[in-house]
Amino acid sequence: MRFNYLVDTGAWKSVEESRVASIEEMQVWDGLSDARITFNANEANIGHNNGQAPHMATMTENLNLQRALLRSLDASGVAEIIDNTKVSRIEKDTRNGGWPLVHTSNGEVLRARLLVGADGPNSPVRSYAGIESYGWAYDTRAIVATLNHAPRLAGLQKQSKTAYQRFLPTGPIAFLPLSPTSSSLVWSTKPTLAAALTATDPQALVHMINAAFRLPEVSIRYLHRFVLDEKQQMSSDALLEEIRWRERAHVIDQHSVFSSHAFDGIGIPPSDAEMLPPLVTSIQPGSVASFPLRLSHADSYIGEGEHGSRTALLGDAAHTIHPLAGQGLNMGLADAQALAECIQSAVLVGGDIGSRTALLPYARARYFENHKLLSATDKLHKLYSSTFSPVVWVRSVGLEVVNELDTLKAAIMMTAGSSSSVQKQRFDASSWATAARSVELAGSAWRAATSVGKTVEGVLAAGLSNLLTSSGRR
């Protein structure tokens, strides 16, 4: 849905397509029990709008998207961008109606009818408006990097359009494809470990990433201690040696997908190769960074009363979220869309876009939506940080059960960032069904009615076959 917004505004046209990957499948598994859930857009038949193949999410680098947005702003000709300039302070125009005055580092003073705070987690606009925010820091930092790896073998394997995420007790590690030979990493882990990993030799980080997707949790815990203890003189070779030793101890075959020995391209790759991300070979220089994770939610998205009038917050300035569900950008884009719609409808009736009355619909549209996601993500984080075995058992059984329920999985995929085409289809179907009552459209209505019938059948059949297969297994 958010993706469609970018398409509708025309910003997507300026995106570098070769650095865009649509994700068709997602593999998520539990680091302790290996319980696994697979989301597949092809199976659920979602996201195939605008002539695209079914997909559940679209990945691209931040820079690519930012450049596209800047270009489309330039092309629109209505926005003026003041670059290489910082906001030095914001104050209230006390003499003249309390409009915000933004002082910039080049000495200009801008008097704002509406000051939109899209200025990140430490938003100066939020502090100007006196909006409190609540939340807590997770004892976690996220490491991000762009990874290089060999492409999947043409002819034998599909090019990877699969995202992988393994939930370790220290936090989830995610592997998101960008192109056939590069992917993006988001690894949430303990701050001490994150510091050691980002400071170390990049090749050692490569080994640690590969191991984090492959080794049993007990060995990963050991490796973490190893990294922390030896960070002064740890060499990547010593680390690899240690990993190989642990593989032998776990009886991992050299040709298995779980091995750190790169598949050399001769012969047939392991049959389960697509259960795991490809082995990372190197890290793009300068792409490693880490940032602290926090849950926070502003008490209000629009400034209240005398002090905060004519301000609105969106994106990270309004809320920060754990990246495990990959919803941060989606939420920000949804905020931007809602605020833009709100401003547009105010302009159409001659409203003052900085007024509380004009902005209230924005807060009403977004606050509760964001709150639901923030809280669901927070609960997931807590659920998966546990190593207490009953909790592990319950979450694993839950995951496996959900994995068997195709309709529920489709619903999850739709909310987690895929396009709204399925909803649109459903709407079309029902509107056609209504039209069926009119005589003129009897012919097409018949077609619509049968297609609705088929969908219902399909759902039933899928449910039944799942029941049968699962009872068969027992």
Partner: protein, 329 residues
């Protein structure tokens, strides 16, 4: 009791549609001429006391702020429709969203703090806001002065928004006439609604062009029904005290049928009636229209009821009527 009150609070907010100017006593809209001014001094004092709160959007006038977009939308829609009906489809389509009010002379009678006037001025209308309370005009002018978009003088030397402390009757004496006259939430506060309506009607421009009727008159008020009494007076003023007690006077409320009846009679010796036909108590769409409006607490916004929706005009409603061709009132 506390909970009960809190629960019923949103529903009763409907009652907060507040008035702007003040003026007579009789609720019957007689066409017999009354020379006296329609300004009611008590009402003027009442709203002058509240004037500082006009622009506190979460305060006393919060519901009026929220009502404003619906009123403006109604004004825009009706003007769009008439431009279309007059055969200027292209102009209408082109300016549907943007500038349908551009360049029109608009008068806001009983402008209060200027909520409606500012919106109309932003849409491009040459707006004059008048109010019988001097303190309202002070507040309105001060507020508009803060907004550069409203004080900018155009190339022709026009200021998009001006305010004057005057009653409708004083303007009638002057030669200036307007394409659009609005008087929102005012008529239920005037002393002689018939005289007041006649003044407003007089201020609407006459068209001398062939086949093109004259200007528009927009009103909004509260109907004199048990529901309106319950919501606007019993609940809002007496039980919940959301609104200053004394804001509304039930007997001054005006029913849509009374407005329609008023405009069915000729407004002057030689004039034509503004509404020529009535079907089922309702005028034809090209001559006049009554639309109900209701506050939906679960959406936090007012909504314009569909044309002819059952019971929709039992409380707050909007009224539009157009000066007929060659009427000299």
């Amino acid at each position: 009791m506390q909970t009960l009150l809190r629960l019923s609070r949103p529903l009763l907010c409907i009652a907060r549609s507040l008035p702007r100017v003040a003026f007579a006593r009789s609720a019957k809209l007689s066409t017999a001429s009354v020379a006296a001014s329609s300004v009611n001094q008590e009402e003027i004092q009442f709203f002058s006391r509240l004037s500082s709160q006009w622009w506190d959007e979460s305060g006393e006038f919060g519901l009026l702020h929220k009502m404003n977009p619906v009123r403006v939308q109604f004004v825009k829609n009706k003007i769009f429709e008439t431009v279309h009906d007059d055969g200027f489809e292209e102009i209408a389509e082109r300016e549907k969203n943007g500038k349908i009010l551009d360049g029109l002379d608009v008068l806001d009678v009983g402008c209060g703090g200027g909520l409606l006037s500012e919106s109309l001025a932003r849409l491009g209308a040459n707006t004059l806001g008048v109010d019988a309370s001097a303190s309202n005009i002070t507040i309105a002018s001060l507020h508009a002065a803060q907004d550069p978009a409203l004080c900018r003088t155009s190339a022709l030397g026009n200021v998009p928004l001006q305010y004057r402390n005057a009653a409708a009757e004083e303007l009638v004496e002057e030669p200036k006439r307007f394409d659009v006259v609005c008087s929102m939430e005012v008529i239920e506060h005037v002393d002689n609604p018939a005289a007041f309506l006649r003044s407003c009607a007089e201020l609407v421009k006459v068209s001398y062009e062939l086949n093109s009727p004259g200007g528009h008159l927009f009103l909004s008020t509260v109907s004199r029904t048990p529901l309106a009494y319950f919501l606007t007076i019993l609940a809002a003023e007496k039980l919940l005290q959301l609104v200053e007690p004394g804001t509304h006077t039930f007997s001054k409320y005006v029913k849509p049928a009374e407005l329609i009846e008023f405009f069915q009679k000729p407004l002057g010796a030689a004039g034509r009636p503004w509404i020529s036909h009535v079907y089922d108590g309702m005028p034809v769409r090209q001559e006049a229209e009554v639309r109900g409006m209701a506050y939906l607490p679960w959406k936090g916004a007012w909504t314009l009821a569909p044309r002819g929706a059952f019971g929709s005009t039992e409380c707050n409603y909007l009224f539009w009527v157009r000066k007929p061709l060659s009427s000299r009132v």
